[in-house]
């Protein structure tokens, strides 16, 4: 179940109506969905949002199994806290387990709420990163007014991310070809740990050295510390506005319905 960064990037270069939306719009859309998800406490609203994300996903032609795999990959930590809720929340006791553990009704409700929120948020993020290439996410952040210096650091990081994943892969392949295995008990633990530390040290060193080289080559091209870089102009189309309006309608109407107590 190991999905590499290359695979994520490949998916984001596919062609569909969702892929062709402006990156700024997709970013705003994701933030809207997530903020509303964190705000709401209503299961119906969460279900509605999840259905909406899944419809967008189907329109984007991303394979469902890839989508589910990616969500499963990042679920554990949050899922852990959610699963614990029935045991730690006080309330109407439904079951009593050995060791003084109790399962409460409020706890189950709250745990399910946290879990559903987590699923909707992760779905939104996975959708965003599956339909938008990394560098256009970062560029759109700058266009939306992210501080210049941070935006420059971000866009350079994104460019070199792939270089370092390749470096890591190379180091690991060469270690593997010499029969190195982190989990193997045939060599002492301290020796194995040292090898890992050397791998990390090499990555560190390589990033330092790469940083120097890149700086000198930037200097040779008249870089003076000012972060000016090429911004691709892309007008926002009607369909872009359309999808934002649609999302806002969904959010506001579900909020109004909830407020009036229909659900």
């Amino acid at each position: 179940m190991n999905i590499t960064i290359d695979k994520i990037e490949q998916e984001s270069w596919k062609d569909s109506i969702i892929h062709s939306l402006d990156a700024r719009i997709k970013l705003i859309l994701t933030i809207l969905i997530i903020v509303y998800t964190v705000y709401t406490t209503d299961f119906f609203v969460l279900l509605l949002l999840e259905i909406y994300v899944i419809i967008l996903l189907l329109l984007s032609k991303i394979s469902i199994s890839y989508f589910v795999k990616r969500i499963l990959m990042i679920l554990p930590f949050g899922g852990f806290i959610a699963i614990f809720q029935p045991f730690i929340k006080e309330g109407l006791i439904l079951y009593t387990l050995p060791f003084g553990l109790t399962v409460s009704y409020e706890g189950i409700l709250f745990g399910t709420l946290l879990f559903s929120r987590l699923i909707v948020c992760l779905s939104a993020i996975v959708l965003l990163s599956s339909v938008t290439p990394l560098d256009s996410i970062v560029n759109s952040m700058r266009k939306l007014g992210f501080p210049k210096e941070m935006a420059m650091i971000l866009s350079m990081t994104v460019r070199y991310l792939f270089v370092f994943f390749d470096e890591l892969k190379n180091i690991r392949t060469s270690q593997k070809s010499r029969c190195f295995n982190i989990g193997s008990k045939k060599t002492s633990y301290s020796w194995r740990l040292k090898q890992i530390a050397y791998t990390i040290m090499m990555l560190f060193l390589k990033s330092f050295e790469k940083g120097e080289t890149v700086y000198y080559s930037m200097l040779a091209r008249a870089y003076n510390g000012e972060a000016i870089s090429y911004k691709e102009e892309s007008p926002i189309m009607k369909v872009d506005y359309g999808i934002i309006v649609l999302t806002l309608i969904i959010i506001f109407s579900s909020e109004i319905i909830r407020f009036n107590g229909f659900i």
Binding site: T37, I81, I88, I125, L168, F204, L205, G211, Y223
Partner: protein, 211 residues
């Protein structure tokens, strides 16, 4: 260690965001004033390196496995907690937006825990201990604390958010992170530091100048 979206109430997320934005303002100001402009590309590429380093999952003798955060090490090597903050902030933004590791509303709290607390605890404990004991044990203790203390603070934050009881949270977070902190963050940072000192002592200029 990444808190996902939906676990911290929105109003608390905003507080963490405000803290991070204030620290971010000073960090960018620091980068402009104290660093040769060289460090801006360096920080960016270091962030890419740290990103790759965080992918490496390292088993510990007791079964649990974890990855390095690297905040303390960057802060120590570049001679300022702001450097650690900037690098970690970039890494966490990308992790949150692309991998869903962490989240968008929880981005503030995650940068606060690892970027602000991790790098400043690591850096200042290294700085304080360096004069008392030698630099190598200081790196070990600094990077160990840079993982353990934020982990305990996460337990407190989850308690404040009403998501996990304090006592159990502190117990679970400390037992797990003492092991990861000692073996992964502590030992590995120390080995990286010692070997970098041997191979490229010039890179450790930050330690000499500011440390």
């Amino acid at each position: 260690m990444h808190i996902p979206d939906g676990f911290i109430p929105l109003w608390q997320c905003i507080i963490y965001y405000i803290i991070v934005i204030i620290v971010g303002y000073f960090a960018v100001k620091w980068a402009k004033e104290n660093l040769h402009e060289k460090q801006i590309p360096l920080l960016a590429i270091l962030a890419a390196g740290i990103f790759a380093i965080q992918v490496l999952n390292i088993p510990t003798p007791l079964g649990a496995s974890g990855h390095m955060v690297g905040a303390a090490l960057v802060a120590i090597l570049l001679g300022s907690p702001f450097a650690g903050f900037l690098v970690l902030a970039v890494v966490l933004i990308i992790q949150g937006l692309v991998f869903g590791d962490g989240g968008i509303t929880a981005l503030g709290i995650n940068i606060f825990n690892m970027g602000v607390l991790g790098s400043s605890i690591g850096f200042y404990s290294f700085k304080g201990l360096k004069s008392i004991i030698k630099d190598i044990p200081a790196v070990f203790i600094g990077s160990f604390l840079s993982l353990l203390i934020p982990a305990l603070i996460i337990a407190i934050e989850l308690w404040v958010a009403g998501r996990f009881p304090l006592k159990e949270g502190l117990f679970l977070m400390s037992t797990y992170h003492i092991i990861i902190g000692l073996v992964v963050e502590g030992l590995i940072s120390t080995i990286v530091y010692t070997s970098l000192k041997k191979i490229r002592p010039d890179l450790l200029s930050g330690v000499v100048n500011n440390g």
